[in-house]
Amino acid sequence: MPAPVHPLMPVPCRVRRVARETHDTFTLVLEVASPPRFRAGQFAMLYVFGVGEVPISFSGDPTEGRPIMHTTREVGTVTSAMRRLRKGAALGIRGPYGKPWPLDEARGLDLVLVAGGIGLAPLRSALYAIVARRGDFGRVVLLYGARSPADVLFAREIERWRNRSEIESLVTVDHASRSWAGDVGVVTSLIPRLAIDPERTLALICGPELMLRFAASALRTAGVGEERIFASLERSMKCAVGLCGRCQIGPSFVCKDGPVFPYDRVRRLLEIREV
Protein backbone atom coordinates (compact mmCIF):
# COMPACT_ATOMS: atom_id res chain seq x y z
CA MET A 1 0.00 0.00 0.00
CA PRO A 2 1.50 3.37 -0.92
CA ALA A 3 2.10 5.61 2.06
CA PRO A 4 -1.01 7.75 2.61
CA VAL A 5 -0.72 11.46 2.18
CA HIS A 6 -1.81 11.86 5.77
CA PRO A 7 -1.48 9.14 8.41
CA LEU A 8 -5.17 9.49 9.24
CA MET A 9 -6.35 9.27 5.63
CA PRO A 10 -8.01 5.96 4.73
CA VAL A 11 -7.45 4.29 1.39
CA PRO A 12 -10.60 3.16 -0.44
CA CYS A 13 -11.21 -0.55 -0.84
CA ARG A 14 -14.13 -2.80 -1.74
CA VAL A 15 -15.80 -5.69 0.01
CA ARG A 16 -15.10 -8.90 -1.84
CA ARG A 17 -17.14 -11.03 0.54
CA VAL A 18 -18.76 -10.99 3.99
CA ALA A 19 -18.46 -14.44 5.56
CA ARG A 20 -20.69 -15.31 8.47
CA GLU A 21 -18.68 -17.15 11.11
CA THR A 22 -21.20 -17.39 13.97
CA HIS A 23 -24.46 -15.69 14.87
CA ASP A 24 -22.66 -12.44 15.76
CA THR A 25 -19.20 -12.75 14.20
CA PHE A 26 -18.24 -12.23 10.57
CA THR A 27 -15.19 -11.88 8.37
CA LEU A 28 -14.74 -9.13 5.82
CA VAL A 29 -12.68 -10.17 2.82
CA LEU A 30 -11.45 -7.01 1.13
CA GLU A 31 -10.25 -6.04 -2.32
CA VAL A 32 -7.48 -3.47 -1.89
CA ALA A 33 -5.70 -2.02 -4.92
CA SER A 34 -2.35 -2.08 -3.14
CA PRO A 35 -2.86 -4.54 -0.28
CA PRO A 36 -1.12 -3.62 2.95
CA ARG A 37 1.85 -5.80 3.92
CA PHE A 38 1.08 -6.66 7.49
CA ARG A 39 2.50 -8.95 10.12
CA ALA A 40 0.40 -11.25 12.27
CA GLY A 41 -0.90 -9.39 15.30
CA GLN A 42 -1.17 -5.99 13.66
CA PHE A 43 -4.43 -4.19 13.01
CA ALA A 44 -5.99 -1.73 10.59
CA MET A 45 -8.54 1.03 11.01
CA LEU A 46 -11.61 0.23 8.91
CA TYR A 47 -13.87 3.09 7.97
CA VAL A 48 -17.52 2.71 7.04
CA PHE A 49 -18.24 5.92 5.19
CA GLY A 50 -20.77 8.07 6.98
CA VAL A 51 -20.82 5.83 10.04
CA GLY A 52 -17.45 5.59 11.68
CA GLU A 53 -14.11 3.87 12.03
CA VAL A 54 -12.96 0.96 14.21
CA PRO A 55 -9.69 -0.90 14.80
CA ILE A 56 -9.82 -4.55 13.74
CA SER A 57 -6.93 -7.00 13.70
CA PHE A 58 -5.91 -8.68 10.47
CA SER A 59 -7.23 -12.25 10.69
CA GLY A 60 -5.99 -13.58 7.36
CA ASP A 61 -2.75 -14.99 6.04
CA PRO A 62 0.03 -12.36 6.09
CA THR A 63 1.73 -14.03 3.11
CA GLU A 64 1.93 -11.60 0.20
CA GLY A 65 -0.87 -12.11 -2.28
CA ARG A 66 -3.36 -13.57 0.18
CA PRO A 67 -6.72 -11.84 0.62
CA ILE A 68 -6.98 -9.14 3.26
CA MET A 69 -9.34 -10.33 6.00
CA HIS A 70 -10.71 -8.86 9.20
CA THR A 71 -12.89 -10.82 11.60
CA THR A 72 -15.04 -9.01 14.12
CA ARG A 73 -18.08 -9.32 16.34
CA GLU A 74 -21.07 -7.12 15.79
CA VAL A 75 -20.95 -5.02 18.94
CA GLY A 76 -21.79 -1.43 18.00
CA THR A 77 -22.89 0.99 15.32
CA VAL A 78 -19.89 0.63 13.01
CA THR A 79 -19.63 -3.15 13.18
CA SER A 80 -23.40 -3.45 12.69
CA ALA A 81 -23.08 -1.34 9.56
CA MET A 82 -20.15 -3.48 8.41
CA ARG A 83 -22.16 -6.62 8.82
CA ARG A 84 -24.80 -5.30 6.42
CA LEU A 85 -22.27 -4.53 3.70
CA ARG A 86 -22.55 -6.44 0.46
CA LYS A 87 -20.07 -7.43 -2.21
CA GLY A 88 -18.72 -4.36 -3.93
CA ALA A 89 -19.46 -1.97 -1.07
CA ALA A 90 -16.83 0.68 -0.41
CA LEU A 91 -14.82 0.87 2.81
CA GLY A 92 -11.81 2.84 3.89
CA ILE A 93 -8.73 1.13 5.30
CA ARG A 94 -5.56 2.52 6.86
CA GLY A 95 -2.74 0.60 8.40
CA PRO A 96 -1.17 -1.71 9.32
CA TYR A 97 -0.49 -0.48 12.80
CA GLY A 98 0.99 -1.83 15.97
CA LYS A 99 3.52 -4.37 17.12
CA PRO A 100 3.06 -7.91 15.79
CA TRP A 101 3.33 -11.28 17.50
CA PRO A 102 7.04 -12.08 18.15
CA LEU A 103 7.28 -15.00 15.74
CA ASP A 104 10.88 -14.25 14.77
CA GLU A 105 11.92 -14.43 18.42
CA ALA A 106 10.05 -17.74 18.68
CA ARG A 107 12.28 -19.54 16.14
CA GLY A 108 13.42 -22.86 17.51
CA LEU A 109 11.04 -22.63 20.45
CA ASP A 110 7.75 -24.23 21.39
CA LEU A 111 4.67 -22.04 21.03
CA VAL A 112 1.52 -22.12 23.11
CA LEU A 113 -1.31 -20.02 21.70
CA VAL A 114 -4.21 -19.37 24.10
CA ALA A 115 -7.27 -17.79 22.51
CA GLY A 116 -10.62 -16.85 23.98
CA GLY A 117 -13.68 -16.04 21.87
CA ILE A 118 -12.97 -13.48 19.13
CA GLY A 119 -9.36 -13.50 20.34
CA LEU A 120 -8.75 -16.38 17.96
CA ALA A 121 -8.97 -13.95 15.02
CA PRO A 122 -5.60 -12.19 15.57
CA LEU A 123 -4.05 -15.54 16.47
CA ARG A 124 -5.35 -17.11 13.27
CA SER A 125 -3.07 -14.74 11.43
CA ALA A 126 -0.19 -16.00 13.58
CA LEU A 127 -1.17 -19.60 12.86
CA TYR A 128 -1.05 -18.98 9.12
CA ALA A 129 2.44 -17.53 9.52
CA ILE A 130 3.53 -20.47 11.69
CA VAL A 131 2.16 -23.06 9.25
CA ALA A 132 3.98 -21.30 6.37
CA ARG A 133 7.28 -21.96 8.11
CA ARG A 134 6.38 -24.84 10.40
CA GLY A 135 9.92 -26.14 10.51
CA ASP A 136 11.07 -22.97 12.28
CA PHE A 137 9.24 -23.91 15.45
CA GLY A 138 9.10 -26.79 17.87
CA ARG A 139 5.89 -27.96 19.42
CA VAL A 140 2.93 -25.70 18.59
CA VAL A 141 -0.24 -25.92 20.64
CA LEU A 142 -3.48 -24.00 20.25
CA LEU A 143 -5.81 -23.78 23.26
CA TYR A 144 -9.12 -22.20 22.34
CA GLY A 145 -12.08 -21.37 24.54
CA ALA A 146 -15.49 -20.22 23.38
CA ARG A 147 -18.77 -19.51 25.08
CA SER A 148 -20.65 -22.42 23.54
CA PRO A 149 -20.26 -24.83 20.61
CA ALA A 150 -22.19 -22.39 18.40
CA ASP A 151 -19.56 -19.72 19.11
CA VAL A 152 -16.52 -21.75 18.09
CA LEU A 153 -14.68 -19.93 15.29
CA PHE A 154 -12.75 -21.45 12.39
CA ALA A 155 -13.51 -25.04 13.45
CA ARG A 156 -12.65 -26.49 10.04
CA GLU A 157 -9.32 -24.69 9.89
CA ILE A 158 -8.39 -25.85 13.37
CA GLU A 159 -9.07 -29.41 12.25
CA ARG A 160 -7.04 -28.91 9.06
CA TRP A 161 -4.07 -27.53 10.95
CA ARG A 162 -4.27 -30.42 13.39
CA ASN A 163 -4.27 -32.98 10.60
CA ARG A 164 -1.80 -31.42 8.17
CA SER A 165 0.50 -29.16 10.11
CA GLU A 166 1.16 -30.84 13.42
CA ILE A 167 -0.56 -28.12 15.39
CA GLU A 168 -1.94 -29.68 18.57
CA SER A 169 -5.25 -28.14 19.47
CA LEU A 170 -7.68 -28.35 22.34
CA VAL A 171 -11.02 -26.61 22.08
CA THR A 172 -13.24 -26.08 25.10
CA VAL A 173 -16.51 -24.26 25.70
CA ASP A 174 -17.94 -22.69 28.83
CA HIS A 175 -21.40 -24.19 28.40
CA ALA A 176 -22.67 -27.11 26.40
CA SER A 177 -25.42 -29.65 26.09
CA ARG A 178 -24.73 -33.32 25.81
CA SER A 179 -24.57 -33.11 22.02
CA TRP A 180 -21.10 -31.52 22.33
CA ALA A 181 -18.49 -34.24 22.60
CA GLY A 182 -15.59 -31.86 23.18
CA ASP A 183 -14.22 -30.37 26.36
CA VAL A 184 -16.28 -28.18 28.67
CA GLY A 185 -14.61 -25.76 31.04
CA VAL A 186 -12.62 -22.55 30.91
CA VAL A 187 -9.69 -22.43 28.51
CA THR A 188 -7.23 -21.83 31.33
CA SER A 189 -8.01 -25.29 32.71
CA LEU A 190 -6.39 -26.78 29.60
CA ILE A 191 -2.98 -25.30 30.41
CA PRO A 192 -2.01 -27.75 33.20
CA ARG A 193 -2.64 -30.64 30.77
CA LEU A 194 0.13 -29.59 28.43
CA ALA A 195 3.38 -30.67 30.15
CA ILE A 196 5.06 -27.49 28.96
CA ASP A 197 8.84 -27.13 28.88
CA PRO A 198 8.83 -23.58 30.29
CA GLU A 199 12.41 -22.80 29.31
CA ARG A 200 11.72 -23.31 25.63
CA THR A 201 8.14 -22.03 25.44
CA LEU A 202 6.74 -18.72 24.24
CA ALA A 203 3.06 -18.10 24.90
CA LEU A 204 0.79 -15.88 22.81
CA ILE A 205 -2.54 -15.02 24.43
CA CYS A 206 -5.52 -13.11 23.08
CA GLY A 207 -9.07 -12.70 24.32
CA PRO A 208 -11.15 -10.86 26.91
CA GLU A 209 -8.90 -9.13 29.39
CA LEU A 210 -10.14 -11.16 32.36
CA MET A 211 -9.30 -14.29 30.43
CA LEU A 212 -5.82 -12.91 29.69
CA ARG A 213 -5.16 -12.44 33.38
CA PHE A 214 -6.24 -15.96 34.28
CA ALA A 215 -4.39 -17.45 31.33
CA ALA A 216 -1.19 -15.62 32.25
CA SER A 217 -1.59 -16.79 35.83
CA ALA A 218 -1.99 -20.41 34.71
CA LEU A 219 1.03 -20.12 32.43
CA ARG A 220 3.10 -18.68 35.28
CA THR A 221 2.03 -21.60 37.47
CA ALA A 222 3.25 -23.89 34.69
CA GLY A 223 6.64 -22.19 34.94
CA VAL A 224 6.47 -19.86 31.94
CA GLY A 225 8.03 -16.51 32.85
CA GLU A 226 6.03 -13.37 32.19
CA GLU A 227 8.67 -12.13 29.78
CA ARG A 228 7.85 -15.17 27.62
CA ILE A 229 4.11 -14.47 27.61
CA PHE A 230 2.79 -12.04 24.98
CA ALA A 231 -0.71 -10.63 25.18
CA SER A 232 -2.70 -8.69 22.61
CA LEU A 233 -4.58 -5.88 24.31
CA GLU A 234 -7.61 -4.00 23.17
CA ARG A 235 -8.51 -0.47 23.98
CA SER A 236 -10.82 2.11 22.46
CA MET A 237 -8.85 3.70 19.62
CA LYS A 238 -9.17 6.78 17.54
CA CYS A 239 -6.03 7.89 15.73
CA ALA A 240 -4.08 4.58 15.87
CA VAL A 241 -0.80 6.50 15.52
CA GLY A 242 -0.08 7.50 19.09
CA LEU A 243 -1.43 11.06 18.94
CA CYS A 244 -4.84 11.21 20.58
CA GLY A 245 -4.08 9.22 23.74
CA ARG A 246 -7.43 7.41 23.61
CA CYS A 247 -5.81 3.99 23.88
CA GLN A 248 -3.29 4.91 26.51
CA ILE A 249 -2.66 2.40 29.27
CA GLY A 250 -0.21 3.72 31.83
CA PRO A 251 2.84 4.97 29.94
CA SER A 252 2.04 2.99 26.78
CA PHE A 253 -0.17 3.44 23.77
CA VAL A 254 -1.89 0.24 22.67
CA CYS A 255 -1.89 1.45 19.06
CA LYS A 256 1.86 1.91 18.70
CA ASP A 257 3.49 0.18 21.69
CA GLY A 258 1.05 -2.74 21.31
CA PRO A 259 -1.35 -4.25 20.71
CA VAL A 260 1.02 -7.12 21.41
CA PHE A 261 2.86 -6.60 24.70
CA PRO A 262 5.18 -8.76 26.76
CA TYR A 263 3.00 -9.57 29.74
CA ASP A 264 5.57 -8.44 32.31
CA ARG A 265 5.16 -4.94 30.91
CA VAL A 266 1.42 -4.74 31.38
CA ARG A 267 0.49 -7.07 34.24
CA ARG A 268 0.41 -4.39 36.94
CA LEU A 269 -1.50 -2.04 34.64
CA LEU A 270 -4.20 -4.63 33.98
CA GLU A 271 -4.72 -5.11 37.70
CA ILE A 272 -5.49 -1.43 38.31
CA ARG A 273 -9.16 -0.86 38.79
CA GLU A 274 -10.22 1.68 36.18
CA VAL A 275 -12.35 4.65 37.02
Binding site: G116, R178, G185, S189, L210, M211, F214
Partner: protein, 152 residues
Protein backbone atom coordinates in the same frame (compact mmCIF):
# COMPACT_ATOMS: atom_id res chain seq x y z
CA UNK B 1 1.84 -54.04 32.55
CA UNK B 2 1.98 -51.13 34.93
CA UNK B 3 1.03 -51.86 38.51
CA UNK B 4 -1.40 -49.72 40.44
CA UNK B 5 1.37 -48.81 42.83
CA UNK B 6 3.57 -47.52 40.05
CA UNK B 7 0.76 -45.58 38.40
CA UNK B 8 -0.21 -43.87 41.65
CA UNK B 9 3.40 -43.23 42.67
CA UNK B 10 4.14 -41.52 39.37
CA UNK B 11 1.03 -39.36 39.34
CA UNK B 12 1.50 -35.71 40.32
CA UNK B 13 -1.46 -35.86 42.69
CA UNK B 14 0.30 -38.40 44.90
CA UNK B 15 3.80 -36.93 44.72
CA UNK B 16 5.69 -36.92 48.02
CA UNK B 17 3.25 -39.22 49.77
CA UNK B 18 4.96 -41.35 52.39
CA UNK B 19 5.46 -44.93 51.15
CA UNK B 20 3.18 -46.36 53.83
CA UNK B 21 0.40 -43.95 52.81
CA UNK B 22 0.87 -44.85 49.16
CA UNK B 23 0.55 -48.54 50.06
CA UNK B 24 -2.68 -47.77 51.93
CA UNK B 25 -4.07 -46.03 48.86
CA UNK B 26 -3.06 -48.89 46.60
CA UNK B 27 -4.92 -51.29 48.90
CA UNK B 28 -8.06 -49.21 48.28
CA UNK B 29 -7.57 -48.90 44.51
CA UNK B 30 -8.89 -50.86 41.53
CA UNK B 31 -8.82 -50.48 37.76
CA UNK B 32 -12.20 -49.66 36.24
CA UNK B 33 -13.42 -49.23 32.69
CA UNK B 34 -16.41 -47.32 31.31
CA UNK B 35 -18.00 -47.50 27.91
CA UNK B 36 -19.01 -44.35 26.06
CA UNK B 37 -22.25 -43.05 27.59
CA UNK B 38 -21.92 -45.09 30.76
CA UNK B 39 -22.48 -43.29 34.04
CA UNK B 40 -19.79 -43.42 36.71
CA UNK B 41 -22.26 -42.12 39.28
CA UNK B 42 -25.52 -40.19 39.58
CA UNK B 43 -26.42 -37.14 41.65
CA UNK B 44 -27.70 -37.95 45.14
CA UNK B 45 -26.05 -41.39 45.22
CA UNK B 46 -23.64 -42.09 48.06
CA UNK B 47 -20.20 -40.79 47.26
CA UNK B 48 -17.82 -43.53 48.28
CA UNK B 49 -15.18 -43.27 45.60
CA UNK B 50 -12.96 -40.91 43.71
CA UNK B 51 -11.30 -41.56 40.38
CA UNK B 52 -7.99 -40.97 38.71
CA UNK B 53 -8.83 -40.82 34.99
CA UNK B 54 -6.15 -42.65 33.03
CA UNK B 55 -7.65 -42.42 29.59
CA UNK B 56 -10.76 -40.94 27.99
CA UNK B 57 -13.10 -38.18 29.03
CA UNK B 58 -15.80 -37.83 31.67
CA UNK B 59 -18.51 -35.15 31.71
CA UNK B 60 -20.05 -33.74 34.88
CA UNK B 61 -23.68 -33.11 34.07
CA UNK B 62 -26.78 -31.69 35.62
CA UNK B 63 -30.27 -32.40 34.35
CA UNK B 64 -32.59 -29.42 34.86
CA UNK B 65 -36.28 -30.26 35.13
CA UNK B 66 -37.97 -30.42 31.77
CA UNK B 67 -34.76 -29.80 29.85
CA UNK B 68 -31.86 -31.70 28.34
CA UNK B 69 -28.78 -32.43 30.47
CA UNK B 70 -26.17 -29.70 30.62
CA UNK B 71 -22.47 -30.37 30.82
CA UNK B 72 -20.74 -28.36 33.53
CA UNK B 73 -17.23 -29.59 33.00
CA UNK B 74 -15.25 -32.36 31.37
CA UNK B 75 -12.27 -34.08 32.90
CA UNK B 76 -9.66 -36.02 31.00
CA UNK B 77 -6.50 -38.02 31.24
CA UNK B 78 -4.60 -37.51 34.46
CA UNK B 79 -7.33 -35.55 36.20
CA UNK B 80 -8.99 -36.38 39.50
CA UNK B 81 -12.76 -36.79 39.64
CA UNK B 82 -14.75 -36.55 42.84
CA UNK B 83 -14.33 -34.97 46.24
CA UNK B 84 -17.81 -35.54 47.67
CA UNK B 85 -16.47 -38.65 49.39
CA UNK B 86 -14.53 -36.28 51.68
CA UNK B 87 -17.31 -33.87 52.55
CA UNK B 88 -20.43 -34.78 54.57
CA UNK B 89 -23.10 -35.91 53.79
CA UNK B 90 -21.02 -37.83 51.21
CA UNK B 91 -23.47 -37.62 48.30
CA UNK B 92 -22.67 -36.83 44.69
CA UNK B 93 -23.99 -33.47 43.53
CA UNK B 94 -23.89 -34.15 39.81
CA UNK B 95 -23.95 -37.00 37.32
CA UNK B 96 -20.69 -38.21 35.81
CA UNK B 97 -20.85 -39.81 32.39
CA UNK B 98 -18.08 -41.21 30.21
CA UNK B 99 -18.09 -39.19 26.96
CA UNK B 100 -15.84 -41.76 25.31
CA UNK B 101 -14.45 -45.17 26.37
CA UNK B 102 -12.51 -44.43 29.53
CA UNK B 103 -10.13 -46.14 31.89
CA UNK B 104 -9.73 -45.03 35.47
CA UNK B 105 -8.46 -46.04 38.85
CA UNK B 106 -11.24 -46.03 41.42
CA UNK B 107 -10.24 -45.41 45.02
CA UNK B 108 -12.51 -46.55 47.83
CA UNK B 109 -13.45 -43.34 49.59
CA UNK B 110 -15.43 -45.00 52.34
CA UNK B 111 -12.44 -47.14 53.24
CA UNK B 112 -10.14 -44.14 53.04
CA UNK B 113 -12.38 -42.06 55.31
CA UNK B 114 -11.88 -44.65 58.04
CA UNK B 115 -8.14 -44.74 57.44
CA UNK B 116 -7.91 -40.94 57.55
CA UNK B 117 -9.71 -40.86 60.89
CA UNK B 118 -7.26 -43.41 62.22
CA UNK B 119 -4.19 -41.73 60.71
CA UNK B 120 -4.48 -37.97 60.70
CA UNK B 121 -1.22 -37.57 58.82
CA UNK B 122 -2.78 -39.46 55.91
CA UNK B 123 -5.94 -37.38 56.29
CA UNK B 124 -3.99 -34.14 56.15
CA UNK B 125 -2.02 -35.22 53.10
CA UNK B 126 -5.18 -36.11 51.19
CA UNK B 127 -7.01 -33.00 52.35
CA UNK B 128 -4.14 -30.78 51.16
CA UNK B 129 -4.28 -32.32 47.73
CA UNK B 130 -8.03 -32.15 47.42
CA UNK B 131 -8.08 -28.57 48.72
CA UNK B 132 -5.83 -27.63 45.83
CA UNK B 133 -8.16 -29.29 43.34
CA UNK B 134 -11.20 -27.63 44.89
CA UNK B 135 -9.48 -24.26 44.68
CA UNK B 136 -8.64 -24.76 41.00
CA UNK B 137 -12.18 -25.88 40.17
CA UNK B 138 -13.70 -22.99 42.15
CA UNK B 139 -11.57 -20.46 40.28
CA UNK B 140 -12.49 -22.05 36.98
CA UNK B 141 -16.18 -22.00 37.90
CA UNK B 142 -15.96 -18.33 38.86
CA UNK B 143 -14.41 -17.58 35.50
CA UNK B 144 -17.21 -19.50 33.80
CA UNK B 145 -19.76 -17.48 35.76
CA UNK B 146 -18.20 -14.22 34.62
CA UNK B 147 -19.20 -15.14 31.06
CA UNK B 148 -16.20 -13.28 29.73
CA UNK B 149 -17.13 -13.98 26.10
CA UNK B 150 -20.55 -12.39 26.48
CA UNK B 151 -21.28 -8.96 25.10
CA UNK B 152 -20.62 -6.02 27.40
Amino acid sequence: METLERILAEHAFFTDLAPEHLRLLVSCAANVRFESGQFLFHADEEANQFFLIRKGKVALEVAPPGGPPLTLQTLGEGEILGWSWLVPPYHWLFDARAVEPSLAIALDGKCLRGKCEADHDLGFELLKRFAHIMEERLQATRLQLLDVYGKR
